[in-house]
């Protein structure tokens, strides 16, 4: 997608993407590995409501 955008838009988007990518890579190392028996967040809280 970046190559289809005008240069200022592409540069701005790339800066934002790189910042997000860096934060996400740090986050992924904390993701639990066996969550499959956990209920989904949304349905769980909505049930409580």
């Amino acid at each position: 997608m970046l190559e289809d955008l005008p240069p200022p838009d592409a540069e701005r988007l790339k800066r934002r993407f790189d910042a997000w990518r860096e934060a996400m890579d740090r986050l992924k190392s904390k993701a639990p590995q066996n969550p499959e028996d956990e209920p989904l967040f949304a349905s769980e809280l909505e049930r409580e409501s």
């Binding site: 838009d9 986050l27 969550p35 967040f41």
Partner: protein, 427 residues
């Protein structure tokens, strides 16, 4: 009703409204007056003027979502949140301004104008429910329906000196409310006082407070209020820090015990929430961002394009991490009843500023303190707790475990009675 509509028109340069509904409001007020004369009263909201953020669908009147894309959208039904207020006699005065598609915190809207802060018109209202907060702070309407995906009720409430409640996720229906990020979106009430927010919350949910009246001398005795120094009290503008610490002293004077608490996984929540919001928002708006990019403001277009670049694997990893964050907050609430924190790390910045008084980038800074309670879905509210030397409001944020909204409102009410700043902007 006419005086409220006149006031809204007189203060039109604040850009609180996208649409005023004078004919509909007057007709409805007349109908309700007739009912009252016959002895028929629908409840405590009978004849009370209210407003709704313009992404809350209103039957027969346009609902723009603050966007050019939906400029001519006229819903064929009310959102249940609005219908519940109307059923109890509330009268809709108009639809309030918001950050485009609720996707931002400044309420600088390229299509419908910048909502201006009534305490200083050169400053932002905060967003995305900025028009609702501006209307309330200016004395227009007694309540409003806002939405909150990363702080969008609490941020403008804090910056404009009003009260806003983000209930537990799902507690107030999101039906008939244009989504931003469906697993982070919350619908909730805003008003000038805690008592009015409570009335609106009760009308929206059917829940009411039947707890016995607390003792007058120490109404919060036995309550444990958690303070998280590392995350919520670092890098605050000095006047925010002092106002909120003074508010903690007030809670102690009312009988509460303030204790320090840690939530080890709290640092994860920002990237987690961003990833979920980016992916969900771009999923909902995908067709339009691909085919009509020129119809979005620059910041909204950038964020929607960014969301198209988020891989499904990262979205799913963020959902997994959210479970870790939720579990961490649940453990914290085993030791405390409430969290207390600032709502925002600084007061309202000037329109066009890219950083806050504490040096943080605008968007990151304003989302940092309210955001954790969107990631978790736990209820949180903002209420005024003081002013800066420039006369700008400062907000105190209180948060609780799921479904403890009434506790939040009771504590906020006790605080307000003890310390109400009791000022209005000179509009």
């Amino acid at each position: 009703m006419r005086s409220q509509l006149d006031r809204a028109q007189k203060l039109s340069e604040l850009n609180a409204f996208i649409s005023l509904l004078p004919d509909e409001a007057i007709a409805e007020a007349r109908r309700l007056d007739g009912m009252r004369r016959r002895g028929e009263v629908l409840g405590p909201l009978h004849g009370i003027p209210v407003t709704a953020k313009d992404l809350v669908w209103s039957k027969g009147s346009r609902t723009t979502s603050g966007s050019k894309i939906y400029a001519d959208f006229v819903p064929d039904r009310d959102a249940p949140a609005l219908a519940s207020l109307r059923a109890r006699g509330a009268v809709l005065l108009g639809k309030t301004n918001l950050h485009e598609l609720a996707y931002g915190v400044s309420n600088v809207n390229p299509h419908y104008g910048t909502a201006r802060n009534p305490w200083d018109r050169t400053r932002i209202s905060g967003g995305s429910s900025g028009g609702s907060a501006v209307a309330l702070a200016s004395g227009i309407g007694y309540g409003s329906i806002g939405t909150d995906t990363g702080g969008s009720i609490r941020i403008p409430s804090s910056l404009c000196g009003v009260v806003g409640l983000k209930p537990t996720y799902g507690r107030v229906s999101r039906q008939g409310v244009t989504p931003l990020s469906w697993s982070l979106d919350h619908v909730g009430p805003m008003a000038r006082t805690v008592e009015d927010v409570t009335l609106l919350y009760e009308a929206m949910t059917g829940e009411s407070d039947e707890a016995p009246e607390p003792p007058k001398s120490a109404p919060l005795r036995g309550l444990r209020v958690g303070l998280h120094p590392r995350y919520f009290f670092e890098n605050l503008a000095p006047e925010v820090d002092s106002s909120v610490r003074s508010a903690l002293g007030t809670l102690e004077s009312l009988g509460a015990a303030v204790v320090e608490i840690d939530v080890p996984e709290i640092e994860l929540q920002g990237a987690c929430r961003n990833t979920i919001a980016f992916a969900e928002a771009s999923c909902y708006h995908e067709k339009n961002i691909r085919t009509r990019p020129q119809d979005y403001g620059d910041d909204t277009r950038d964020l929607l394009r960014l969301g198209l670049l988020v891989p499904a694997t990262d979205y799913l990893a963020a959902l997994r991490v959210r479970r870790v964050v939720v579990a961490s907050f649940r453990r914290a609430f085993e030791d405390i009843d409430l969290f207390a924190a600032p709502s925002t790390p600084a007061a309202a910045p000037p329109i066009g500023a890219s950083v806050l008084d504490n040096g943080e980038e605008l968007r990151t800074g304003l989302l940092r303190l309210p955001g954790p309670f969107n990631t978790t879905g736990f209820p949180a509210l903002s209420l005024p707790c003081g002013f800066t030397g420039d006369g700008l409001p400062v907000g105190l944020q209180l948060a609780a475990a799921p479904r403890r909204e009434l506790l939040l409102l009771r504590v906020a009410g006790a605080f307000e009675r003890q310390s109400s700043p009791g000022r209005s902007p000179a509009v």
